[in-house]
Symmetry: C2
DNA sequence: CTGTTAGCGCCTTCAA
DNA sequence: TTGAAGGCGCTAACAG
């Protein structure tokens, strides 16, 4: 039978309360007593029952999520995932507060971080804009002892506790490999469409993509990166202009959001001139485009996984528990029309 | 504050025990009382705290896993995943019993199923061999009221409670799409290497692969399927023979296991004659082959996810709780050299 | 058929 | 610095 605190107590010859103090590293225990308890814990192989502990504590974890108020499917999916997490809030003893933040706005994000910290939540998760002022605000949060996790896009040069998102360099490389091999022919131009170079995930995807293209498919020519601000309207304009100008574009990598605009623009490109297209995030739009053949592959990050991972990590940090890095790695899903879920 | 059984009891004007009886659908409650309680539950929006319930029950779930005693990396991975699950056994209140079963042996599997059922575990998970005698044994397990889950490979024509594995038809289609596009040229032969057509996962992959190849890449010629019994030695022999005989094989789809043999055989194929290769399961071998360029893509199912899913489902079934189908879907991971974890 | 009572494993006052 | 006692939300004897 699994040993309990009672077993530890009797084995160490102390009371339950003392065992509890030692287990939770609370003060008011003599060194000798502490040692006795530690020894008993070790000898009996005691592992505390987290469920029972939480039950007794009745503790809930107020968590704050800062999400860009960007109206694209991915962010909507993220919100949906948060709503679902809320539904399980009771069972998991968490209380999620969702705060909207203007997109790509470092100053606003920094402010929001400080405001969130003022509430003293058990943890904060946020989609980072990679700017110094955000880094400063993040450091303050950490300094205040509040666990901090970046979500979807990471922050450079800070000691955030964890990053819940995909490896964006790997995503960029994968896109390049697929696109290069799908394109087939050795000649032609390749367009790259990003949201903003201000966010680290886009920058990383872009750089990795470019480097693999240069190495493995040197005869394909990369066009200058277009920034669509993850906004369908802007994206549509940019892509339409692109295809009305040039006529030897063989492939396009859309590494940001706003693919509604991309698909619209692609629809009016004559079928015989349509490029190989690789995009990010599986949404209604990209799913439809995959099925109709307008898009060839979609790289996806599962917002639900990211949210759940962020929550697990924040709870663990709040409890001072270690996180199993391996279990928290967010996969890059690759979807073709053939393996749509 | 979340309502508890106490709130329900006082709201309905009954005792705790009665509330408990109603909640757990135990007999010995008058229809009127039951209604009163149900009404209170509904009105207060009561959700029972599963953690507390389990604590009180002190219940553990003895689960039996039947795993083919096949010595390939995937099955070893599955065993590893089970070991890890065992480590968390205490916390999750499960006790896993692992039973080895001869591979591809329907009679032995049927017997093992009956034996396992005789122990009256809280649930059974098994890698199915798709044969009538197995179906019969499975029906008996179900009839005995023991939750039953197929793992990795499914069973036709039975009412197993759940299948914890990937969509193998989707995997076959995906392999065909990638292989066809990677192969580039329109001419050449394509080899298919399976483990055994006795298991449904291999059959499904094979059929789906063939049908997409026929539809989308009709000029590539499919060779007859080779059966390597998931055994590296057999696989090596088959592939070596294949390449010594024919000289216009442009691609190969390995849909089973035993890829150690495949890679060995490929290594001795002259570089300029090496085919596009798509294989299943990310192992040390396939990872190395991806990196060295011998294999172009690997489709993977995460054994850890499958085991954890099977456990969750079996527990839920044992408790008569519903399963969130969506959350239990096992993804097909696609790995290129660029997105190796 | 219904209620009382004593735990499950842990944490937390309150006293000593 | 230590211990005793009560309780978290739920279940399970055992009585009525």
């Amino acid at each position: 039978m699994k040993p309990t605190v009672h077993d530890i107590a009797s084995h160490a010859g102390v009371s339950l309360a003392t065992v509890d103090r030692v287990l939770n590293r609370r003060p008011g225990v003599s060194a000798r007593t502490r040692e006795k308890v530690d020894k008993a814990v070790h000898e009996l192989g005691f592992v505390r029952d987290v469920a029972a502990a939480n039950l007794a504590k009745g503790r809930t974890y107020p968590l704050t999520f800062l999400i860009p108020s960007n109206d694209n499917s991915f962010m909507r999916g993220l919100r949906l995932a948060l709503d679902e997490a809320r539904d399980r809030a009771g069972v998991e003893r968490i209380a999620i507060r969702l705060v909207d933040v203007p997109a790509f706005d470092a100053a606003a994000l920094a402010r929001a971080l400080k405001d969130a910290a003022a509430d003293q939540p058990a943890g904060i998760a946020f989609v980072a804009v990679d700017a110094p002022e955000v880094a400063v605000a993040a450091s303050e949060v950490i300094a205040a002892g509040i666990p901090l996790v970046t979500l979807v896009s990471d922050l450079s040069g800070t000691e955030r506790d964890h990053y819940a998102g995909i490896d964006n360099a790997a995503a960029g490389r994968t896109a390049a490999s697929l696109l290069g091999r799908f394109a087939g022919g050795p000649q032609g131009k390749v367009a790259v469409l990003a949201g903003s170079m201000l966010v680290r995930d886009h920058r990383e995807r872009c750089e990795a993509f470019a480097s693999v293209m240069a190495r493995d498919f040197p005869t394909l020519e990369l066009l200058p990166v277009l920034e669509g601000r993850d906004d369908p309207a802007v994206v549509e304009r940019l892509v339409a202009a692109l295809f009305s100008g040039l006529d030897d574009i063989v492939a396009l990598y859309s590494l940001g959001a706003g693919n509604r605009g991309l698909v619209k623009a692609l629809e009016s490109v004559p079928a015989e001139r349509r490029p190989v297209v690789i995009a990010h995030e599986l949404t209604e739009t990209t799913r439809g485009a995959l099925q109709s053949g307008l898009i060839d592959a979609v790289l996806n990050q599962d917002a639900g996984h990211e949210v759940r991972s962020a929550i697990r990590v924040l709870k663990a940090k709040a409890d001072g528990l270690p996180v199993v890095a391996d279990q928290e790695r967010i996969r890059i899903d690759i979807f073709l029309k053939d393996n749509l879920p």
